[in-house]
Symmetry: D2
Subunit: 149 residues, 4 copies
Amino acid sequence: MSEQHVLSGRLTATGHELQQRVYFEDTDFSGRVYHARYLQFMERGRSDYLRLLGIHHRELAADGLSFAVSHMEIDFLKAAGIDDILTIRTTLNETTAARIVLEQVVVRDDERLIAARVTVALLGAKGRAVRLSPNVRAAFATKQATSKR
Amino acid sequence: MSEQHVLSGRLTATGHELQQRVYFEDTDFSGRVYHARYLQFMERGRSDYLRLLGIHHRELAADGLSFAVSHMEIDFLKAAGIDDILTIRTTLNETTAARIVLEQVVVRDDERLIAARVTVALLGAKGRAVRLSPNVRAAFATKQATSKR
Amino acid sequence: MSEQHVLSGRLTATGHELQQRVYFEDTDFSGRVYHARYLQFMERGRSDYLRLLGIHHRELAADGLSFAVSHMEIDFLKAAGIDDILTIRTTLNETTAARIVLEQVVVRDDERLIAARVTVALLGAKGRAVRLSPNVRAAFATKQATSKR
Amino acid sequence: MSEQHVLSGRLTATGHELQQRVYFEDTDFSGRVYHARYLQFMERGRSDYLRLLGIHHRELAADGLSFAVSHMEIDFLKAAGIDDILTIRTTLNETTAARIVLEQVVVRDDERLIAARVTVALLGAKGRAVRLSPNVRAAFATKQATSKR
């Protein structure tokens, strides 16, 4: 497996999987990972999922577009600590004209640490939600078709 | 109003209110505030609310205790940008033997940017939830009694 | 003193002074403040110094300009911890056609925790250093004149 | 190459090399990587270098020890952007009884973006510098001997 491949995680039957290390920066004074950092780990997972589907932040930005989280529900089940290797699993739940709903979990070995449902919208230059562009929908449609096989 | 008083925000009829500035570190490549940073703004609000109720992280830690978020639901309604002054409003919703439920909003002038419901538990040295200590419950009980007047 | 005034710190005889609280997010697993966070505290100080001199990031950005650190030397002398109130003191050292050199210290009560020398350049749209605009130079010139009185 | 191996980078003739992706969280409103984030990338490199030398933060902590940066000089030469893959190269410069001096660069393809010299000390439970423990010195000594061959 090439280094670049590992860096971006990999597509799975139902979505995407990424491994990330917990570093000093992710922990806090309690000795555990700071709660908001899990959102960053999950965002890395979503970015790499999009990347492997052929959707790039930089290209979206050239069109004045960017993805933004519009709603999130998170259960913080167990805490990670320094040096842990976390796996971020992202599953496509639903796509509509203007939003994508994803299920995300963060696990350490067989333990679920975080379970979240994340709604993402595509924002235009003025920060308003716009309809998903055909290439974004096509990328996910292919994925959904594949995962239903 | 003393500088220290402003730094810690102030108790209100229903909870707590804190003003914070958006700096470079809070923004991302989209030109707006990075979504996970709102959790940090809200955590600052909760910390200062506890502080003004007489509950200090450092003292809790000396007893092997720390507060941790166990569940969170967040609506990202509008985005903040660089240089904005945000007000974080925290309202006590409910306290039980082992957890505290808070409503938090982040507003800019009269606009609601973020609305969240946050469940917080007290963790012991081994990372397991423990019953709220009498002094924590007393601090919130006083607050609840006051806000019902 | 108004809340907004406290939020932005204040101009001093030699530069600027800002108070900031240490929150959970700033600490790490060692129990102390994570080393890179001091750079964020110092950046907040520089931003507010510019703000009180009448230079705003948002207006610079409208002209395709932004300030960027080009060089930094930092001594990490002592560590801050959770709940500490830090004072960030920024002193103008030198301005040239294309850069500003600042001395910054982070203190807690009378203890110096951090001492840094920071060189800042103004970058144009393509990320290249450009000459400081007349209004930026004028703002600092006034300041220098004032501090020499 | 195993995924875990890629996650921790690899030992080189003169030190260590780690690849990391730039995500949304690393960028700011200027469209580039926020300056303090490079310190986090470099800290990840140092942590993984120590890890591959057999020195683990968690074990140090069990003995009341942790590494802390005591001095840093950084040149910010060029800026990274969203989606970039960065390579963090760490070279051992010198070890003394109480400190380690490292040279670190962050490169993108063949471009040097960041060049830094970082002095690290080992802190005891009270936050004071202590002598490097024999196993830490032995780990680096082996490395130095190897790199001189």
